[in-house]
């Protein structure tokens, strides 16, 4: 059938012609920074609501807070939108003075009105991060009186107790304290929503970049803000592109389709390190990998079992293989870089010791437990490695995988045996982690707050009191000592097996310089990036 053959040949040629002249484009525009990152955690752009990693980094480059800190030495706190602040005799009231001559991207001047509006708004909206501010005794009813404008460029911030000043200031550096353009937001208010329905997908800030566009699970586009008070960023545009797969990001950066790959796994680090066009950079982040033992489980509630578990993790091997370059071994609840962080790592894999402890607990033959594992590559791999070492001591650990929301739902309902997870601090002050790992004011099932200690039904009235006392200690050294003592006790007795501290790794094309990896995500900055 010649005709048939001819037809097929023609069809083949047509298709070939359509695809043939195509070669992969391999250069990004000179004035645009393109990053690949899994941005599916972004659910809002409103500083009063933003909490997750990606969105806080975006806001960190697009907004400014009252105060900031040196990313290389977080103890050095300085004013940003605030020029200075004074603390009253009783330590309860801060008076902030706003810097002169600063503008929002819209062109509106920044005044005390904006700062007061921002803080009141966040408390009244009461979205997820609101607790960072409300822990100082604010609520929707009293905030108008407690945070008050005293002049065009000054306002007062009055708390219910004399909290440690660094705690207050660190809280104000977090995204919830980023100053919004009150005039612009008010003009988009509807039905008393404080402009929330508008701002969650729009922009009203004063940072180096303005947010032009956010398309969920696709891209975030930022543009240079010409009204920025600081040094103008070299890049005219910065784009985050949603690429969930680490292997795909690696391909893209190798091909030159992107400038920076933000999710780099242990395997990619190894492969990209040998690529002459690409530099791998890293910085220590505050997130902690841990697993925790629900004290409602009678086996796990035994102190010897808690202790034994800490000897049944091969910390060093995991950090050197499946998590290579991504973590360092760390066994206390305060991450390195925080005030009072404990850097001792007393535990390592010791099966004999663990067996002894189990025998002491009357469980010489081991027992069976389950571990709820979020189905991400890293958590699953760590979980499986732990499963293998647990088996050496006769503990049969079954993994129950689920997506993030599922495992979290179960964890918060205290229905797990063992939960493995990652915890990132909410702000730079040690209280953020002490609050959740070492405080449990009410262990009843219907408690109002659900810190990690509560989720594992760990009832610790004394430790809670100790953690509370640290919050009111104004002297930094004394305060640091309280946290060190707290961690030492916690390390030995708690049902938390803290394993690693996260290292953030990125891979950049060699020509891309000056990206700053800060200690928390809103410190990651591309303001100065050149290429």
């Amino acid at each position: 059938m010649k005709h048939v053959q001819k037809f097929v040949a023609v069809a083949l040629m047509c298709t070939a012609a359509a695809f043939a002249p195509v070669t992969a484009q391999a250069e990004t525009p000179a004035d645009t920074l393109i990053q690949a990152w899994a941005i599916d955690d972004v659910i809002s752009l409103d500083p009063a609501e933003v909490f997750e990693f990606t969105a806080s980094e975006v806001l960190g480059n697009a907004y400014q807070g009252l105060v900031g800190y040196n990313v290389n030495d977080v103890s050095e706190i300085f004013g940003v939108v605030a020029e200075k602040w004074d603390i009253s005799e009783d330590g309860k009231t801060f008076t902030f003075t706003i810097r002169d001559g600063m503008k929002f991207a819209s062109g509106n001047p920044i005044t005390a009105e904006d700062a007061v509006y921002t803080l009141q708004r966040a408390i009244k909206l009461d979205k997820s991060p609101a607790f960072i501010l409300t822990q100082f005794g604010f609520n929707a009813d009293n905030v108008d009186a407690m945070i008050r404008k005293t002049g065009d460029m000054t306002f007062e911030f009055e708390m219910d107790k004399a909290y440690a000043p660094t705690l207050v200031l660190y809280c104000l550096t977090s995204t919830v304290g980023f100053i919004v353009d009150s005039e612009l937001v008010k003009s988009n208010e509807a039905d008393g929503d404080f402009g929330y329905n508008w701002l969650k997908t729009n922009y009203a800030g004063s940072g180096a970049f303005s947010i032009r566009d956010w398309r969920a699970n696709e891209a975030i586009v930022l543009e240079r803000n010409d009204n920025y008070s600081g040094e103008a960023p070299p890049m005219a545009r910065a784009i985050y592109r949603h690429i969930p797969e680490t292997a795909t990001q690696r391909l893209l950066i190798e091909q030159g389709d992107i400038d920076i790959a933000r999710n780099v796994g242990a395997e990619e680090i190894e492969a990209l390190s040998s690529n002459p066009d690409i530099t791998v950079e890293s910085g220590v982040k505050g997130s902690i990998y841990y697993f925790s033992l629900n004290q409602k489980n009678e086996n796990l509630a035994k102190p010897q079992v808690r202790q034994a578990m800490k000897y049944l993790v091969d910390y060093a091997t995991i950090a050197d293989t499946i998590m290579k370059g991504k973590v360092i071994t760390h066994q206390a609840f305060l991450p390195r870089g925080f005030l009072g962080a404990l850097e001792e790592t007393p535990f390592s894999l010791n099966v004999e010791k663990a067996k002894e402890l189990l025998a002491e607990a009357g469980l010489a033959d081991g027992f069976t437990v389950t571990m709820d594992t979020r189905n991400t590559n890293e958590i699953t791999a760590i979980g499986q490695a732990i499963q293998q070492t647990m088996a050496l001591a006769g503990i049969t650990m079954e993994l129950i995988p689920g997506d993030g929301q599922q495992t979290l739902t179960k964890y918060r309902a205290r229905n797990h045996d063992i939960y493995i997870g990652r915890w990132g601090p909410d702000y730079q002050d040690p209280h953020t982690n002490a609050d959740t790992f070492a405080r449990n004011p009410d262990n009843s099932d219907d408690a109002a707050s659900k810190p990690l200690a509560w989720r594992n039904a760990w009832d610790i009235p004394e430790m809670t009191a100790k953690a509370d006392s640290a919050v009111l200690e104004a002297d930094a050294d004394t305060r640091a000592q309280i946290y060190i003592d707290l961690q030492k006790e916690h390390q030995q007795t708690s049902p938390f097996v803290i394993m690693f501290q996260e290292i953030e790794v990125l891979a950049r094309r060699n020509n891309v310089e000056n990206f700053i990896i800060g200690p928390s995500f809103n410190d990651n900055s591309f303001k100065a990036v050149t290429k």
Binding site: M1, H3, V4, Q5, V8, A11, T15, A18, F19, P21, V22, T23, A24, Q25, E27, T28, P29, T32, I34, D40, I43, S44, F51, E52, D126, K127, S128, P129, A130, F131, T134, T201, R215, A216, N217, E218, A219, I239, R241, H242, I243, P244, E245, T248, L251, L252, E254, Q255, D257, I258, D403, Q405, Q406, L408, T409, K410, R412, D426, A448, S449
Partner: protein
């Protein structure tokens, strides 16, 4: 009368779709409030969101409200994207449509001639090869082929562009009008961007094309064999009509009638079922949107997306029915 019964069927099917997905959504062991407020929120924040989502009302009230709103085209707001579901769907659907259309065009373009060829050469080598190629198409996991394709054609050889619909450098070179990037770039004369889009769609399009080709070729073969055995073919041969005319004009025209249904169903399959392909190629289409929403218990989005899929299915069925009537002289005469 027929139209009435048809619309009753359609309405019933869509209502059924709503009930099934709504029930699924309510038994998901995920706290939908967590998707909104995250893990760290205080209890008062949590309670507020719980009420805002309407979760404090009885199940049937929630369902009633949903149906009531859905009728007016209001599917609520997505938890994840903070946009109305309808906007989201309108935004993501063109990506899926474009990919499926490229796939079905490739599938039809190759599938029909290959099927005809196999039918004409029944039992010969060509027929066997076509058969095996078809079986291979049915047997290989599409996500695996996609991965290997990316590895070879993108990572190793650099012949095609990588995952996604377009390079970022071209993303702002044109204005989004239809959402079909091939159409948009071509209409605006952005040929560089157009070629980039082609380069991106080539691999996933060819993959989906191969899958539908396997099916279309097989069905074409069987329809053609049926036709070639008919008396009119024999008569035509006796009359001395050229063989190519018999095959391509007489037989194929008759075989085309049932083929339309096959192609329509296969198209529907591509529109609905490219979840895995979209995952592998980071294709921001309906499949990815749905999977993502499902995993985050974003029920409004799931319901809206599922409804859209149901409507597409019913619509394509109606369309193939209509084309059938149009093409088949027997049915035409009857009605």
């Amino acid at each position: 009368m027929r139209a009435l019964r048809l619309s009753a069927t359609v309405a019933f099917t869509i209502l059924g779709l709503l009930v099934v997905t709504f029930l699924i959504g309510r038994v998901v062991p995920v706290d939908p409030v967590l998707a909104v407020v995250g893990d760290r929120a205080s209890q008062s924040t949590y309670d507020r969101a719980f009420v805002e989502l309407g979760l404090d009302r009885p199940l049937y009230v929630q369902f009633g409200l949903y149906v009531e709103k859905a009728i007016t085209g209001d599917f609520g707001e997505s938890v994840l994207t903070k946009k109305p579901i309808l906007d989201d769907l309108i935004y993501v659907f063109p990506a899926t449509l474009e990919l499926a259309t490229v796939g079905i065009i490739i599938g039809t373009l190759f599938g029909i001639p290959v099927g005809v060829w196999a039918a004409v050469r029944q039992g010969k080598l060509v027929d066997q090869v076509v058969r095996i190629l078809g079986l291979v198409g049915y047997s290989a996991p599409i996500f695996w082929l996609g991965l290997l394709g990316l590895l070879v054609f993108y990572a190793k050889w650099g012949l095609v562009a990588g995952p996604g619909r377009i390079d970022i450098s071209y993303e702002y070179a044109f204005t989004r009008v239809t959402g079909l990037y091939l159409v948009d770039t071509a209409m605006q004369g952005q040929w560089g961007a157009f070629r980039n889009v082609v380069s991106h769609i080539a691999l996933p399009g060819a993959l989906l094309g191969y899958y539908s080709m396997a099916y279309i070729a097989r069905m074409t073969r069987s329809f053609m064999l049926n036709e070639l055995a008919q008396e009119y073919v024999v008569t035509a041969r006796v009359k001395g009509v050229a063989e190519w005319r018999i095959i391509w004009v007489h037989a194929l025209r008759n075989a085309a009638v049932p083929l339309v249904t096959v192609i329509a169903l296969s198209y529907a399959g591509l529109l609905e079922g490219s979840v895995l392909t979209e995952t592998v190629f980071a294709w921001p289409g309906l499949g990815q949107y749905l999977t993502n929403s499902l995993q985050n218990a974003d029920m409004n989005a799931v319901l809206g997306g599922t409804l859209l899929i149901g409507i597409i299915f019913v619509g394509l069925n109606l369309l193939s029915d209509f084309l059938y009537t149009l093409l088949d002289p027997r049915v035409r005469r009857r009605s």
